[in-house]
């Protein structure tokens, strides 16, 4: 549903059906709504069976990377080792706010998905990592876990299956980078949230050195529906001519839009209709100027490009951007793109973990140049420098935070260069260092 707005008829509410429904948060309420049937069924299945169903369904990771979930799970074999499942609830990508809704409105849905996922990857222990700021979600999920234990759904004999499933909630403490899967594992281990070099991959050596799978909240919450209704049911959602993007997705719409909120549509939805019909288009008297369709780390689209885009993985790539986390940020004609891109690079500079030279220094440098241009002290030379820095920051680091910082600058310069040049043309002085000595300084 377009929570907090009423469901739009063109939405496909699967995960979002109970957003805003306080009754769905309790164990009984969840059961009444069909909850825990999938888990009961799954616990009686062989993990390989579950992996096959999920693989067949075409479900791809909903956190941003879009990696096929069934394939990710298939890396976990019955090797007799301790396995771990980590649920990534560290939602921090600007523009994305869907996992928070899942966790605070359907916590049992998440618990069910997590337990199911753990069983599917031969793990007895799962950790739900929730970012520290999501106090409501933490309270709700904690209570759901407690109630699930009390009801015997979790624990040594999950739902009477004879299998052990333990789920623990782990609170983050303020770091966007902990949403990166290897940084999340480090954070869980009580370390600084530094991403790790891969290989080794988490499925080989992950949390506490053991084979681990990390899945997003939305991904895991989707799994029970697939197990309950079957892979074929899930495959009905999507473009008929694009079997690579299957299912429904929550899109978090924010910024200068009439009806911001979370909308759940089938992948393959036309973006123009989505923005104007479901989300109400721009505010009265305003026009959309730019859209970032998948969280701040994906390239910016102009209005025209957005109006021609299709909302699935391949469709967004064809439009020169990515589906990412599905965080749709809308900029209208009032916004200065230079100012907003500068704010975005500042975000990345603030969140850099400081390991890689390019990211640690580059995010800060790029921000300083952007802010200088924003404040009317830029030069044309700066634009070349920005692109050069962006290139040096891309494809060379342990994780992609560095690339993500460069992306808005590159796409911003490509599509809104005139705004940068206008800022620079307005700069009367040739001196580029603020506060430097000038001949007639006061």
């Amino acid at each position: 549903m377009g929570y907090p707005h009423p469901s739009h008829p063109r939405e496909t509410p699967v995960l979002s059906k109970y957003f805003g429904d306080a009754g769905a948060r309790t164990l009984d309420g969840w059961r009444q709504r069909g909850g825990y049937e999938a888990l009961q069924k799954a616990l009686a299945m062989d993990p390989q069976e579950i992996q096959t169903v999920v693989k067949d369904s075409g479900l791809r990771g909903r956190g941003g990377a879009g990696f096929p979930t069934g394939m990710k799970w298939s890396f976990m074999k019955p090797d007799g080792k301790v396995h771990y499942l980590c649920c990534n609830g560290d939602e921090s990508e600007p523009g994305t706010f869907k996992d928070r809704e899942i966790m605070r409105w359907t916590p049992h849905g998440l618990v069910e998905g997590v337990a199911l996922g753990a069983h599917a990857i031969y793990a007895e222990t799962a950790y739900i990592y929730i970012r520290g700021e999501f106090t409501e979600a933490i309270t709700q999920v904690n209570r759901a876990v407690e109630d699930a234990y009390a009801a015997g759904i979790l624990g040594a004999n999950a739902m009477g299956s004879g299998k052990r499933v333990d789920v623990h909630v782990h609170r983050g403490a303020g770091a966007y980078i902990c949403g990166e899967e290897t940084a999340l594992m480090n954070s869980l281990e009580g370390r600084r949230g530094n991403p790790r070099i891969k290989p080794p991959f988490p499925a080989v050596a992950g949390l506490f050195g053991k084979p681990t799978t990390i899945n997003n909240v939305e991904t895991l919450t989707t799994v029970p529906y697939i197990v309950k209704n079957g892979a074929e049911w899930y495959k009905q959602f999507g473009r008929p001519d694009n079997p690579k993007s299957i299912g429904t997705k929550l899109f978090s719409v924010c910024g200068n839009i009439s009806r911001p909120g979370n909308y759940e549509v089938a992948l393959g939805f036309p973006f123009k209709e989505f923005l104007y019909d479901l989300c109400g288009g721009p505010l009265p008297g305003r026009e959309i100027k730019a859209v970032i369709p998948g969280g701040s780390s994906v390239p910016i689209l102009t209005r025209e490009e957005a109006e021609n885009a299709i909302m699935d993985y391949e469709g967004m790539v064809a439009s020169g951007t990515m589906l990412g986390s599905g965080g749709v940020i809308v900029f209208d004609d009032r916004q200065c793109m230079v100012r907003q891109i500068a704010r975005l690079t500042r975000f990345y500079a603030h969140e850099s973990c400081a390991q890689c030279s390019q990211c640690r220094e580059g995010t800060a440098w790029i921000t300083r140049i952007m802010e200088r241009i924003r404040d009317g002290q830029g030069t044309m030379e700066d634009l070349d420098t920005l692109l050069s820095i962006a290139d040096n920051m891309s494809g060379k680091t342990i994780c992609v935070l560095s690339d993500s910082c460069a992306t808005p600058v590159v796409s911003g310069l490509k599509k809104f260069r005139h705004e940068f040049e206008a800022k620079i043309a307005a700069n009367p002085s040739k001196v580029t260092v603020p506060g430097a000595l000038r001949a007639s300084a006061a």
Partner: protein, 183 residues
């Protein structure tokens, strides 16, 4: 010694005043019930170190901030070094390494909220709390206002956290009412 944000100016948060709090006495936190709660948490992980973030939360919930002595206590309880704990504390923005106002006000100003007027919300808070600037505590010790990065509620611009309370859809106009409802 002050290790504030880089000196290029335009810092997100003004460097908070680092008073010398080292000589203040530290009442142990991990005793009695709190210790018992920590023991439960410890049982969830195969290493003691993994309980570090939970332990730091317990310390901050008990004392309002994370002091050097608090760090020493956590280090001792988890059998790791104070330097290690400090490295972790300084990584995560939600742990305060100095006391803050009774109501710690965190306003999201990242781009999605920025285009919805988040900076005006910040100005409104600064004005109505009497805090001179970001990161400073008001004279009566009641408020500290800072900007934070994306709070994950972009569709409910502008979200504001006050201590552990998450308030959605704050406007500059709703600020006085919000403040008046704080204890």
């Amino acid at each position: 010694m002050s290790h504030g944000p880089s000196a290029s100016g335009g810092a997100l948060v003004a460097a908070p005043p680092h008073g010398h709090h080292h000589d203040e006495p530290h009442e142990p936190v991990f005793v009695g019930e709190t210790r018992a709660a920590l023991d439960v948490i410890l049982s969830r992980y195969p290493t003691k170190q993994a309980a570090l973030l939970p332990a730091l939360w317990m310390l901050q919930d008990a004392r309002g901030w994370v002091s050097e002595k608090g760090i020493e206590e956590v280090a001792a309880v988890l059998e790791i070094t104070p330097a290690y704990v400090k490295g972790v504390v300084s990584f995560y923005t939600m742990y305060h390494q100095h006391p803050v106002g009774r109501h710690f006000i965190q306003v999201c100003t990242t781009t999605p909220c920025n285009v919805c007027g988040a900076e005006d919300v910040v100005k409104s808070f600064l004005e109505h709390t009497g805090c001179g600037d970001l990161g400073l505590t008001s004279d009566d010790g009641k408020y500290t206002v800072i900007e934070v990065e994306c709070l994950g509620a972009c569709g409910f611009a502008t979200p504001v956290m006050i201590n552990n309370d998450f308030i959605e859809s704050v406007t500059p106009e709703s600020v006085p009412r919000i403040l008046s409802e704080l204890k």
